[in-house]
């Protein structure tokens, strides 16, 4: 066993792996945010609240309908995604053409409303949610004990990220999305119902947030403020990756998870600030983020 900066290498492997797990959540959340920004030109501040709704939906399904984790994994993104589509039809469609500021404030207001309602009904301590039986326990990797559920989180979110990337970058549907991002009026003039596509895209982005919420439920405390705790960080991830860049959001999400993990070893107090330091540096060097198109 050798040491790196006074930290045993084995410990470091563990930390890297944990960073990757956290990165999975950042990647999933920032992916949804990037998809929404790319298509709707709206910075979706409600994303955190929708992530929280995902976790709560899983909890409620289990509590009141007895539906387990695996069902929730499928049903919750659909439900919360549908609620997102409603939000898009009721509110967001009116701010899409305006300055980003208005979309930001509107979605921020919605996030407050949602969080407030959940606090009213569920209090703030949060609710327990157990990992599914299938994924109980864990593996001893030698350098650390890896809970099965965490391994599942990495694998599953990699798959989701890849599938999303594939759909957007490699399929016909994705080509509609990309084209509509560049020039929605023209795509519409080709006979594609762009407003409906926009609604579905928002629903999809929100569904991704809800999916992340379901996956987070067994790990983190299911509480109304879990979304507002994470939204600013995810927001920073998207900016560092380059607004609207799908690949940028995924790679940056995982990478920042790892960097944050390492910070937790070497300078734990700064672990929640390191992302902002990186954001400042990246923006000073690359004005449009790591993967953003240069204007």
């Amino acid at each position: 066993m050798f040491e790196i900066f006074g930290v045993p290498s084995q410990a470091l492997f563990g930390q890297l792996l944990i960073g990757l797990i956290n990165g999975s959540f950042y990647a999933l959340l920032s992916l949804g945010l990037a998809v929404i920004f790319g298509m709707l030109n709206v910075i979706n501040f409600t994303h955190g609240a929708q992530y929280m709704m995902g976790a709560f939906a899983a909890y409620l399904l289990l509590q009141y309908l007895g539906l387990n984790y695996w069902v929730a994994l499928v049903v919750v993104p659909l439900l919360v995604g549908a609620s997102g589509m409603l939000v898009e039809r009721l509110f967001l469609q009116y701010v899409r053409q305006l300055d980003h500021l208005y979309g930001l404030i509107l979605t921020f207001g919605l996030a407050l409303v949602i969080e407030g309602l959940f606090r009213n009904y569920f209090g703030s301590s949060g609710e327990p949610y157990q990992p599914p039986d299938l994924l109980q326990g864990g593996q001893n990797l030698g350098f650390m004990f890896l809970p099965n559920y965490r391994a599942w989180v990495i694998v599953f979110s990699l798959v989701v990220c890849f599938v999303t990337w594939f759909v957007i970058e490699r399929t016909r549907l994705g080509s509609y999305l990309r084209a509509a991002t560049e020039n929605p009026a023209l795509v519409r003039a080709f006979g594609i119902n762009v407003p409906r596509m926009v609604t579905l895209t928002y629903g999809f982005g929100v569904g991704l947030a809800a999916l992340a919420g379901v996956m987070a439920a067994p790990i983190y405390n299911v509480s109304p403020q879990m979304g507002s705790d994470v939204i600013i960080v995810v927001f920073a991830v998207v900016v560092i990756g380059g607004m609207g860049s799908i690949l940028g959001a995924i790679i940056t999400g995982f990478a920042l998870g790892i960097i944050e993990g390492l910070t937790k070893v070497f300078f734990p107090e700064a672990s929640s600030t390191v992302i902002f330091v990186i954001m400042a540096i990246v923006l000073l060097i690359r004005p449009t983020g790591l993967f953003g198109r240069t204007a």
């Binding site: 045993p8 209090g123 703030s124 301590s125 327990p128 983190y220 937790k264 929640s272």
Partner: protein
């Protein structure tokens, strides 16, 4: 238009309070608490319900008194808390503020209370400085404090074999104080602190810190944090097999609602110190039943019980003085009168403002051991009242020195 409306609203609020019948002795109590955030379940609406029960049990009419209650949310911001306190004292004629979880807010409110010569009864906040360097003739620290937590949990854990410790500490003054006090107790009792890690507030993922704790090979992982942070640490600790690997958590500040939120499966085996448990005896159970009328399905925390106990004692003192006007006098009267209530039993208030009662070391039951909702704790030890809190000699409280 809306400015005018909000001004009118403000005016109405102020005048409504000014015009009140003056015949009975008026007393106004303000529950200043966290209604919406981190500590809302440990205090918040439950504290309000407890204060109402205290007023009801005291029966103001019988003592020729009229007691009003106001409530506000300090949002865990010292400036918000201080400004509400100021406004209550200046405008709304509030005589006493009770509860105030969050140490920073409590310290700020304590300053304001002393300036305005009113009464401040702390139940929710933990920091022992309130009866130490920051003690005040207008403040009583009721339910618990950091020294008591450190001493209760730290001492008994070391005594039962938990010799080596690793701290996961919330990176702010309260966390550091808790770690400092506990380390002192651990070392004084022959234990050893192997390391610690400071974690930013509202961190979601503790696995990295748990891994560091695991690698320290310490027997005990002391959690010098609170609320959601504690819940997440324990929940993820179970996941990473911390307890299965032979290490144990010591929750330095854990309340019953936190245990409920965690679920017994994750929390089982956790050792913690509290001064009140709803299922202690018939009196506490009867009170809990009444409390649950307004908080269905919940179980009261020690903070909420403390609000009841403090409010009741305060009203007795006011009744004895027949006036709530002079805060210092009321506090002095409260210190003079022995305390007695169904929740904390008999006790007293020291010159430094410390309420003295026994503390209890509990262990969280396993799901199998729990027979009914809320059946969460096994009583491991009772720390007698005279040992539970920091002796006045170690206080550095200026009030006590002045008295000498």
């Amino acid at each position: 238009m809306r400015v005018a409306a909000s001004l009118a609203f403000a005016l109405a609020a102020i005048f409504a309070n000014a015009a009140q019948a003056q015949n009975p002795i008026p007393v106004k109590i303000g529950v200043l608490t966290d209604m919406s955030s981190l500590y809302a379940d440990d205090t918040g609406p439950g504290s309000v319900a407890a204060a109402k029960l205290a007023i009801q049990d005291f029966n103001p009419a019988a003592h020729g008194m009229k007691v009003d209650l106001v409530v506000a949310d300090h949002q865990n911001k010292p400036d918000v808390g201080a400004s509400i306190a100021r406004q209550w004292f200046d405008v709304d004629h509030v005589d006493m503020i009770v509860d105030v979880p969050n140490s920073a807010v409590a310290l700020a409110v304590s300053d304001v209370t002393r300036q305005k010569n009113k009464v401040f009864l702390v139940s929710g906040a933990a920091i022992s400085d309130l009866t130490g360097p920051k003690c005040s003739p207008n403040t009583i620290h009721w339910t618990y404090d950091t020294w008591m937590l450190a001493n209760g949990t730290g001492k008994s854990v070391v005594k039962t074999g938990g010799k080596t410790w690793f701290f996961i500490t919330a990176d702010y003054a309260f966390g550091h104080a808790l770690q400092r006090d506990t380390s002192a107790v651990v070392e004084a009792n022959g234990g050893k602190v192997l390391g610690s890690v400071n974690v930013p507030l509202n961190n979601q993922d503790f696995s990295s810190f748990l891994l560091q704790a695991q690698q320290s090979k310490a027997q005990i992982i002391g959690l010098a944090n609170a609320g959601g942070d504690t819940i997440n640490s324990i929940k993820q600790g179970a996941e990473f097999g911390i307890t299965a690997g032979g290490q144990h958590f010591a929750g330095l500040l854990v309340f019953l609602p936190d245990v409920e939120a965690l679920g017994l499966k994750a929390a089982q085996g956790l050792v913690l110190t509290e001064t009140f448990y709803w299922d202690m005896n018939d009196a506490t159970r009867a009170w809990t039943k009444r409390w649950q009328v307004s908080r269905p399905g919940k179980f009261p925390s020690m903070n909420q019980a403390g609000v009841y106990s403090a409010t009741l004692h305060y009203l007795k003192a006011v009744a004895a003085l027949k006036s709530a006007a002079d805060g210092k006098a009321v506090v002095a009267e409260m210190k003079k009168l022995p305390t007695n209530d169904p929740l904390f039993g008999k006790g007293m208030i020291r010159a430094d403002g410390r309420k003295i009662h026994p503390a209890y070391l509990f262990q969280v039951k396993s799901p199998a051991e729990s027979k009914y909702p809320g059946d969460d704790y096994i009583l491991k030890a009772t720390i007698p009242a005279d040992e539970a809190f920091r002796p006045m000699s170690q206080d550095n409280c200026p009030l006590v020195n002045a008295a000498k």
